[in-house]
Symmetry: none
Subunit: 217 residues, 4 copies
């Protein structure tokens, strides 16, 4: 799917000979990201964005083909950045548990540095933009794949119990999103990652309780 999908960036202005300079475009992206993080897609108007950037509405259309594309381009840019960070990390040959902990740390760090956009991503506005269910879906699956790989590696290494990686990846995906979005804390990304990793790795049961009591249930 990642191969057939044409990236929003590539699509935009595919018909134009000129590629506009990036400065103004970045300005627009930043302003729009800020607004989209505060209000929903439909509640942010092109007027809002134009006013925030301090340009005329028409100017936005010199850089983006549509509101939808602007929105998706913001998301794509962010997805690409975090995903490439994560993939660079997972390319290393660390043992799976360490790898997972590092990944969590990078996610939370990226989150703290990009609160605005992440707030958008955390929302599930998939359906907001009619034709683009596949877009969010694509990135979700990619992330889940990444978790699955780490989990499989761990199982092979013997550091993880043999469980169904599909479900577990889904679990990690969901809990990370929840923590990112709702956990109010002054802690550093690393220490949040540490806490979360501890729960994921050891579970909630008290040691010893596991075998003896759980059996009775």
């Amino acid at each position: 799917m990642a191969k057939t999908r044409k990236s929003i960036k590539e699509q935009a202005h595919a018909h134009r000979g000129q590629i506009p300079k990036g400065a103004r475009k970045e300005e627009i992206i930043r302003a729009a990201a800020k607004l989209f993080s505060q209000k929903s897609y439909h509640d942010v108007t092109m007027d809002d964005i134009a006013e925030k950037v301090g340009v005329a509405k028409g100017t936005i259309y010199l850089y983006f083909d549509s509101k939808e594309n602007l929105y998706l381009e913001i998301m794509e840019e962010t997805y690409e950045e975090i995903e490439s960070i994560l993939e660079r990390e997972t390319a290393k040959s660390d043992p799976a548990p360490l790898k997972l902990k590092k990944v969590l740390g990078l996610i939370f760090k990226f989150y703290l540095q990009n609160l605005d956009v992440l707030r958008i991503l955390s929302r599930d506005e998939t359906h907001l933009i009619r034709e683009h269910y596949e877009f969010t879906e694509h990135w979700r699956l990619r992330r889940i794949k990444l978790y699955e790989k780490i989990l499989e590696k761990g199982i092979n290494e013997g550091s993880f119990r043999p469980f169904k990686t599909e479900l577990t990846a889904l679990i990690i995906f969901g809990l990370v999103r929840s923590v990112m979005f709702y956990y109010k804390s002054e802690k550093s990304a690393e220490s949040i990652a540490e806490e979360v990793f501890s729960m994921i790795s050891e579970g909630i049961l008290a040691p010893g309780y596991e075998k003896a009591e759980a059996a009775r249930m």
Copy 2:
């Protein structure tokens, strides 16, 4: 908050003397829920709903004061039902782990029976309806509170390790939503609950790895 907030249901038609027959209202709710589960709030028009139910648009307004209220009433009805189911369960004197497993089972069961509406709830359309951030927030906090209580009970009983219940409740909340929404499986609610509970309770680390290896990280 739950006490001062006037429920959408109570508000609706507070001015009418007569309560219209429930059948037509249920029809509308069902059709609307179906549509809201497929498209976003803004992409579902009152015309869509009317057409789906097979009535004139005005008819909907005999039963609901506004589109927003229709939407919220669907959500409230569902929230109330599942929450009351869960609270009835947690009132029992089961040990915490069993309690948690049962709760998970009930959630997944309810989910399988109410796919449409749950798909709406799973989305975070909080911002879509400007004034109603508090609405979703209210129910999210209530669910998290429920998890926290079970976790505290378990810690006191000694069945759960002593961790921060706030973060852990958030983690469970997020992973459950993710599984509910994305896990495609033919399994029964109970067996999904079993699997999820197993991950939550034991974690992903292989037994024995925990102490020896984790220390090296």
Copy 3:
């Protein structure tokens, strides 16, 4: 025009064999009149009226063909009553000044007794009801005609100066409406009529000033 116009009352239910009893109809008229006096034609809904009378909305349509007819019937009933009172008075052989004063007294008396409906008449909602400009126009002209007759009589008698009766009738019509609608006073209808008549008959100029000074202007 007065001859060709078919009265609203006559039109209503001309096609029915049964004439419903007047009681329920009167109830509706009273309630509607009250509401129309408080809000404008368009701001009063058939629901409002039905609720106020305490019947179902459909019931109103058993007595009136349309909202418009209900409105016009209220006005017609009132117009007819006051106009017949005035015409009975003008049929008497009083001298013109006394006749005028009596007419003013009757108008203000009727007004004080029918505040609600008069408030509607005082408003000029002529244009509110598309096709019925002629309706208000008809009654306005009838009233003006009545004033003109009195004025002509006075001029013939020598009690009034010879002026253009058309303009003067218009003047009296306008000032009476203004006093009716805006004069807040605890006085009796007769004493208001007395005051108004005094202004109409003597004017505002101080005696003596008239000839000497007015000439200089």
Copy 4:
């Protein structure tokens, strides 16, 4: 439509440079005023106005926040203009009768020049726009105050009889409105003012009749 057929107006503007800033707004005001003078507030739709101006509906909203605001802006503009004309006149040190006559002349002159808008003002659509009773009320009171001042001045000068200025101002207010609205005549504003002033100042009674006969009543 605008694409295939070029209207006369568009052609006219084509060779000019820009349409002046306030021009479009004035166009809308003029068209709307015309329509509001023919039909009531509720019977004039934004579509009507847009069609009359020859622009899209949205264009109106570039210049006015709402239909209500458009309506009120028309009224306010007119009120302000005539009222400032009148107040400039009354600031002069003419004797009261002359002042009154001049004021009447200015009103009728303004009326003849602004038939459309004045027809709106003459109507009492106070209640049509719920929140804006106070608006019309404000301007009515201001006009009445103006009359009262002139009347008081006249009484002090000795040119007017000592009467109640409140009632008399109300009388003048009403009769002027009536003449403005209903008097069909080819006469000039000055000559209408002259006639009306004559009635106001001298009254209708024949000289000499006043004392002798009126007493008998």
